[in-house]
Subunit: 398 residues, 2 copies
């Protein structure tokens, strides 16, 4: 724990926000910071949750413990609607209370003695859970932990590492569309990743929490669109950004039957044991809500509409920063816009923007040393507030 | 993971139940096995959950991420209603998705290099998470893992170990009222435990998931009733058995401000970091339900009534086994009855009872080698089914 000297990124930002609000009590702070959903959940979903909740007060409707890996109906809906024609079945799916929690459970499965690789920059949870598990040495000055392979992903390499130069690790965490860069890996890039993992006997943990933001049909939304991926990849994902479930809490992990250790034994069997031992299943109410998102065309369409609203915000953000002459990445296939401030430090840019515009962003360096010089701007807010934030940013940065 | 050769107890029982049902398709199986609540949740609680769920579809009622450690209102209600006059404040309380999940998070906090002690028998989660974390050696023939201190708790020692003979460990897991024996430690026993931990510089993880089943006012319901406990003890607890939330999922951990490592730094600060990194908070819907259990006298009374129903069942079970001439323990202060079958193996007793009466119990040896020769019988079922199960048990065992 001592090695985790820095605070976790988002609580840190939240403390700075509070300090700012204290300094400027009348300021109308707009958060384009933590990726926290703001749009109401479609009522087809919340009605199902309310109905289920009320039924818990009746002898017929009461339910206690569900299966640790989740209700079969929901696992089946995920297999069929999210992974059509990809060879994923309900038994491969483990329902969870969110992707972040699954990262921790996977790290418990992997244990202290594995080596891991991460994109740089990326969501900090992969590294931080690795540090907690004792997989790493101490951090250097830039914050890189000894023992972790950082795969630089920058505009200069199309946000994809040259795998020929990446040393073998036991596990590769790969987030696409990437948080924070917003880059969605191409089919060819994912093919390279799968081949690399197969060649090295590595497990890929593919985080597709933002897959519903991918535009068009060209880019893969799941790693299982790549042939052979079922033998090397675990996929984790979430209802948080897909259906506004950040507070309701629901996610899933796919651990395919075909994924085996070098000795031929099943990874899914061990993960099942971890889930049964460290988790008692996602809230039954949340699972009912998740099923309502997926089982009818009406539910699916309602969820798509909400994602569409955030995608409109992304467009406004991209246009604003582009008009300001900034290098802007992401946004097409993710709710995040990744903006470069050459020669500046991320926390300084974060601080200046907050001071001058009362807009919260996220400093890119919080996602790894490779994020230095960037900020991440989130589309998760109302259209009105995003437009207002963009007006303030334009006055300040123009 | 390889060391965890045996399946987790409850999924194992569930497989045997399925096999039995296949063999006897017409048998009316009654489960007095896994401690799964069966009584409907009082409507004052589910109405609050339903109302909150529906409000998630409105701009005013929508909420995204809450604080990782839970809503302050709920933390405050727990501090005030569960720990009155014990020096526990809302900042000491971490809301979770259940005690089992908190055990895993605490084990992530402790890491691989700690030594642990557990009661024998006890809830298997403490040992199993320790094995997953790599704290132990291999199991011996009786299932005892090398490196874990097993503190025998049997009728012969009033279910409390002679601490003078127990070696020091970094962490002591202690469950009271104990699952499975049903024994609630006396004030004097807990005083001994706290003194022992203070003398050794150990942390006690006190699991009070069944505290609402304690009868009368003599026995402590929390370790914080013991002076000095705040400096040595973490308490974990749950709404599962208290309010029928086994499926809804809600619990809490108390990590008092006063609990420090040997170097004087705060345990709570590190646990907060683990919670923020590996967990995103309990479902907001569940938290609203939890608050409704605690904030009004009406809610508290409703929850007490449900616990009272299970306690009536416990009485029936105790009377039945007593009338059969069995040695019976527990039941007064817990929903579990612990019955001795001298000279027999637990799994054999479990199997015979299932075969002859179609009643599911839990083999005592599933809780540790010290449970061999016992079975645990749960009061979590309807009165009608408990009475029917008792009639069958009487015919078979008489």
């Amino acid at each position: 724990m001592e090695k985790l000297r820095n605070g976790y990124l988002f609580p840190e930002i939240s403390m700075r926000r509070e300090a700012h609000q204290k300094k400027y009590p009348d300021a109308k702070v707009i958060s384009l910071g933590i990726g926290d959903t703001t749009e109401p959940i479609p009522s087809i979903i919340t009605s199902a949750m309310a109905e289920y909740s009320l039924a818990l007060s009746t002898p017929e409707g009461y339910q206690g413990y569900g299966p640790e890996k989740g209700q079969k109906s929901l696992r089946k809906a995920i297999a069929e609607k999210i992974y059509p024609n990809m060879g994923i079945t309900d038994t491969d799916v483990f329902i969870s209370d969110g992707a972040q929690c699954d990262i921790a459970r996977l790290q418990m499965l992997f244990g202290r003695d594995v080596t891991i690789a991460v994109q740089d920059p990326t969501f900090p949870g992969y590294v931080d859970t690795g540090v907690i598990m004792g997989q790493t040495g101490a951090p250097d000055e830039s914050g890189r932990y000894a023992g972790i392979e950082y795969m630089r992903c920058a505009p200069e390499n199309a946000f994809f590492p040259d795998l020929a130069t990446v040393p073998r690790t036991d596990v590769i965490f790969f987030c696409s569309p990437n948080n924070p860069t917003g880059h969605a890996a191409s089919r060819d890039q994912l093919r390279q990743l799968v081949d690399f993992a197969r060649g090295n006997g590595s497990i890929v943990v593919f985080d597709s929490a933002y897959s519903s933001y991918v535009s068009g049909d060209q880019l893969p939304r799941s790693i299982y669109e790549i042939p052979g991926a079922r033998e090397v990849a675990i996929e984790i994902s979430s209802f948080s950004k897909f259906a506004g479930f950040t507070g309701v809490r629901l996610g899933w992990a796919v651990v395919p039957d075909e994924l085996l250790y070098a000795d031929g034994t099943s990874v899914a069997r061990d993960f099942d044991r971890v889930v049964c031992t460290t988790f008692n299943g996602a809230s039954s109410v949340a699972q009912v809500g998740g099923l309502a998102c997926l089982e009818t065309e009406e539910g699916r369409e309602a969820v798509r509409r909400v994602v569409g609203k955030y995608k409109e915000n992304t467009r406004v953000l991209v246009d604003t920063f582009t008009a300001l002459g900034k290098e802007v990445y992401g946004g097409d296939d993710s709710p995040y816009v990744w903006v470069r401030f050459p020669g500046q430090r991320s926390w300084d840019v974060f601080g200046e923007i907050l001071e001058k515009t009362h807009v919260i962003t996220v400093p890119g360096s919080g996602f790894g040393p490779g994020g230095e010089g960037f900020i991440r701007v989130s589309a998760f807010n109302s259209k009105e507030k995003v437009v207002e934030a963009c007006a303030r940013l334009t006055s300040f940065l123009a």
